[in-house]
């Protein structure tokens, strides 16, 4: 960098420090240095935009549990004690096809993975990255990972979350 004491002769023969020779922080407009103020304003704008308006799409993969009724193949319905082979029960007439007995149903608990796209603020993402809570998937999506740690560290993102020290991610 150049030194402020460096000077050069002006057209009128006097010496003055050229603004171009000074550090950027000393460039002036009407005698006031504008670069630091400009940068400070840009920083404040960045903080406001980041805190309030910058939303980051994050995919939340949830495992959803649901119940379905399925035919119980393992246990065919037992025939009534006083009837013959299945299908030849009351109401059957000679020559007609046998009436199949109603299948026995059972309820089954199943899980399916559901992807929910959420828009998270930078404040939330900052909290989550401190515990490696958000990661980039090979497809380029940002996904929530290690949600239990996020909930524990940030007091959000799940039931029973409590604020506490973030576990060291490394």
């Amino acid at each position: 960098m150049t030194d402020p004491t460096e000077s050069r002769k002006n057209a009128n023969g006097t010496r003055s420090v050229s603004a171009a020779l000074l550090r950027p922080g000393q460039w002036t407009v009407f005698g006031y240095r504008f670069v630091p103020l400009l940068l400070f304003a840009a920083g404040i704008c960045g903080i406001i935009y980041g805190a309030l308006y910058h939303l980051i799409p994050v995919v939340e993969k949830r495992v959803e549990k649901y119940t379905v009724e399925v035919i119980d193949d393992q246990q065919p319905p037992p025939p009534p004690p006083d009837w013959g082979p299945p299908g030849f029960g009351p109401g059957w007439e000679s020559g007609a096809p046998p009436i199949p007995p109603p299948p026995k149903m059972k309820t089954e608990d199943r899980e399916r993975q559901k992807e929910i796209l959420t828009q998270e603020s930078e404040l939330t993402v900052n909290r989550a990255v401190t515990v490696d809570g958000i990661q980039r998937s090979p497809t380029g999506q940002l996904v929530w990972a290690n949600q239990a740690a996020v909930a524990s560290a940030t007091g959000s993102g799940g039931e029973g979350g409590k604020k506490g020290p973030a576990a060291c991610p490394t």
């Binding site: 404040i44 900052n126 991610p169």
Partner: protein
């Protein structure tokens, strides 16, 4: 009147410089707050502090800006909040934050007080900070991600070692109540090397590797607050050079990239703290004439 105000402010700055260690202690308690052990709700991880510390520390109040930058780089998202914080703080104070508020700088200052022979590192070695900033913080996380990345900044950070790795390896915080050194041997080794380095040179981490220091050192050229050098008052006594522990080449210029603005050098009459709100003072021919030749051709190191 104006000269009286100037004199008073100069006296205040000199007095404040003597209290630097207490200011650093106060900031340490702000960034690493012991009250968090009792009131974890005081934790504000969404916000970045402007200093170098580990966000995984059980006492950490705010997020580390370097950790956040590296994580966002791995996520391919621009961190407006972290970048805005660094820009606003840098544009206001420059690297004053390093000298007065950084907890890891404070640790280095404390260890450096142990009376051992101190070596001064050559100026060009400070350029490695930009390599750390560009490589470990921005480019490597961007291209290789953070998971299973052995050179991700948090995995080699000595501040992380002292604030998170050691506490979380201790029996008080491990699940089985045993020490777990093996998992964090690399970080602990790096920390040990730097603690040893602190004994023989001033602030080795700041001088050589600190990526946050690299950002703030750039803002030294454009900050609202700066160190003003008045050539007319310089008696070429080399006092400023002797006062500067960190061997910044710009002891007399105050805008050097290695300067941490500890303000020790303002004991010299030719240096004072200035702000951009003061009107531009053009250096006159008399100033130039009275400037000692040694300053005009100041050695680069």
């Amino acid at each position: 009147m104006a000269s009286m105000v100037k004199k008073n402010s100069r006296r205040l700055v000199r007095r404040l410089a003597r209290w630097r260690i207490w200011v650093q202690t106060a900031f340490l308690l702000l960034w690493l707050n012991p009250l968090l052990l009792f009131w974890p709700g005081l934790r504000w991880m969404g916000i970045c502090s402007p200093v170098f510390h580990c966000y995984s520390c059980p006492l950490s109040t705010f997020a580390c800006p370097i950790g956040v930058l590296a994580n966002y780089s791995a996520l391919h998202v621009f961190p407006f909040l972290a970048a805005g914080t660094l820009l606003a703080v840098g544009a206001t104070f420059g690297s004053l934050v390093c000298g007065w508020a950084c907890p890891f700088g404070f640790l280095q200052d404390l260890v450096g007080r142990i009376p051992t022979p101190k070596f001064r590192l050559p100026g060009w070695m400070g350029l490695t900070r930009y390599a750390v900033l560009g490589g470990l913080v921005l480019l490597i996380p961007y291209f290789f991600g953070m998971k299973d990345n052995p050179v991700f900044i948090c995995k080699v950070c000595p501040a992380g070692a002292i604030e998170a790795t050691i506490p979380f390896s201790s029996p008080w915080l491990t699940a089985d109540g045993q020490w777990h050194w093996k998992a964090s041997a690399l970080k602990t080794g790096i920390l040990a090397a730097f603690v040893l380095g602190m004994l023989f040179t001033w602030r080795p981490w700041c001088t050589l590797f600190c990526p946050l220091g690299a950002i703030f050192s750039l803002s030294n050229y454009v900050s609202l607050m700066f160190l003003r050098f008045q050539p007319s008052k310089c008696r070429d006594c080399d006092l400023c050079r002797d006062l500067c522990k960190y061997r910044g080449p710009g002891e007399r210029r105050g805008s050097d990239m290695r300067c941490i603005r500890c303000l020790e050098c303002v004991k010299c009459q030719a240096l004072s703290v200035g702000t951009v709100f003061q009107r531009q003072e053009l250096v006159t021919l008399e100033d130039v004439k009275s400037t000692p030749k040694s300053i005009k051709s100041f050695p680069k190191d």
